[in-house]
Symmetry: C2
Subunit: 294 residues, 2 copies
DNA sequence: CATGATCCATCTCTCTCAGCGATGGGGTGT
DNA sequence: ACACCCCATCGCTGAGAGAGATGGATCATG
């Protein structure tokens, strides 16, 4: 048995058919058939049930499939480990919440890109749930998400600690005044945004329920909507300096328990920490950034 | 990069030279050279430093080597998993202390071999330290050893609980009487036997120090030596029925703290529990054996 | 029921590439 | 100086992977 056999096997299992797998692998169907046959002969067990719509896994195939994934991942990691001599190099794909990227990451990204020109840096943004899924699927090496995250396959480390504040129209003088607003809406950056649940809890604790949701793709649009009295939002304090000073929106501090949010960096527990990523995290560490700011 | 490349790489690293690796792999040296070169070209990093006595690993090679091991192990496990349909079959190589094998395992082994004729069962015996090393090196799937065993790569489960007894010549009436015996020796089955340390501690607690050691390969020889007054030994009570009844040796019970010994079954944490092994452990479980004895 | 589409198995042909054997150069110990 | 051991390289050969064509089976559709 060989790793390339397992690659073919995995493609067939994923595509649900030998013809489709052949297209996926840029080869012809007869080849796929032959290699699967060879693998089955070697193992002495059929791996797929053939039927007119394609194939599906037998029990033996289902037992083999997770190994195919693990071995493929391990081979990629082996090559990366051999190439990684401690100086960051190659591709580094990270994920982040959009608010975290805006608030904390831009100077880190800029400095990192300057310091390590050998690294092809990619930053993808999305919600905590999306990013966690991306990390698990190995689409990104790791991600900055809203903590805490507990998953057996992930390891996390706290990176930033922020205080959230409630943003409302200037005419609202306290969060408690929201309870009797019947037309209340919550404004979020994206559907599924991590702060939404927290905002719902905060409003519910003050007797405000039954709100609708507005989703805007940019922070500026959100500020505009809040300033216009369309709704309220919850954002890290660090993000709302200029808008608040302009008096366009009112910023309401919250009790520490409600305001505190921790950004953690998560990555798969079973992957090696690449030099490129290690150097990035080193630059993102709070103490380091404080020192750099002096 | 391919698993067979890594196999060649691993052999070269292990043998310390391409010629030796070629012999080990049943191929010729030019092939090994070519494949290593190919691997190095693909990775863009030299993996070995060539010198007149052979080769040794560069840093990149040293980073790659553990992956070669893991991938090789995983490939073997993948084949075993695919073939393993729940009915025990194939090779099952276990380790055990000799005393445990003699005391507990023979009926289990016999019954298991009868119940699962498809399994090629092998039992290797040795000391706890030897067996733990064998498990870690994957030479055996698991082993019955003297507990407790704490190692990050191993998982253990208690299987048997025994009471040890001190065996002396019939003329010795209590363990305390040994303190003034200047010619005292301890008799063990093998150098490095797990019970030796415990016996030393027991004797030391009674003021007996400065003994010599005798090593005999069989239990009968040990009984003979003890009966002849050559020394003392420590064995599970269950092993010493007939000899004690004959009056050839004196059996001294010990306090529970000193007598209790737990036999645990250990295996690597990162390997799948094969059906063959699962069935064996099921048969070795104390409650099961008690039920079978009724 | 006929037809077309889809999917897998099998066959043949081609050609790459792994493996083999031989040779050569470099270094080491005697 | 010589024998020895090690690795690099070259040409040759054959197994085997890949490409393409064909055929049989099944299913959807009108």
């Amino acid at each position: 048995m060989d790793a390339s056999d397992l690659r073919v096997f995995e493609a067939v299992a994923r595509c649900g058919g030998m013809s489709r797998a052949a297209a996926d692998l840029n080869t012809v169907q007869s080849n796929v058939t032959a290699r699967i046959r060879g693998l089955e002969d070697e193992l002495g067990e059929p791996l797929f049930r053939r039927h007119s719509r394609g194939v599906d896994l037998t029990d033996a195939g289902a037992r083999l499939l997770p190994y195919a994934h693990r071995i493929a991942a391990l081979l990629g990691e082996a090559a990366a480990a051999a190439r990684d001599d401690g100086t960051p190099r190659g591709a580094l794909v990270l994920g982040s919440l959009e608010t975290t990227a805006a608030l904390h990451l831009s100077p880190v990204l800029a400095g990192y890109a300057r310091a390590f020109p050998g690294v092809d840096l990619t930053l993808r943004t999305g919600t905590t749930a999306e990013m966690v899924a991306a990390v698990l699927a190995r689409r990104v090496e790791g991600a900055f998400v809203c903590g805490p995250v507990a998953h057996p396959d992930l390891v996390g480390q706290p990176v930033f600690r922020e205080r959230l504040a409630l943003l409302t129209a200037p005419s609202v003088h306290s969060p408690e005044a929201l309870a009797d607003r019947r037309d209340l809406r919550i404004v979020v950056l994206r559907a599924g945004c991590s702060y939404r649940q927290r905002l719902e809890a905060i409003l519910a604790a003050r007797g405000a329920v039954g709100y609708r949701m507005l989703e805007f793709g940019t922070l500026e649009a959100i500020f505009g909507a809040v300033a216009a009295g369309l709704g309220v939002t919850l954002l890290p304090r660090g993000l709302i300096g200029p808008v608040w000073q302009d008096g366009r929106v009112a910023v309401h501090d919250l009790p520490a328990a409600e305001a505190a949010v921790e950004t953690v960096f998560v990555r798969r527990a079973d992957t090696r920490l690449s030099s490129a990523l290690a150097a990035f995290l080193e630059r993102a560490r709070p103490e380091r950034r404080a020192a750099a700011a002096e």
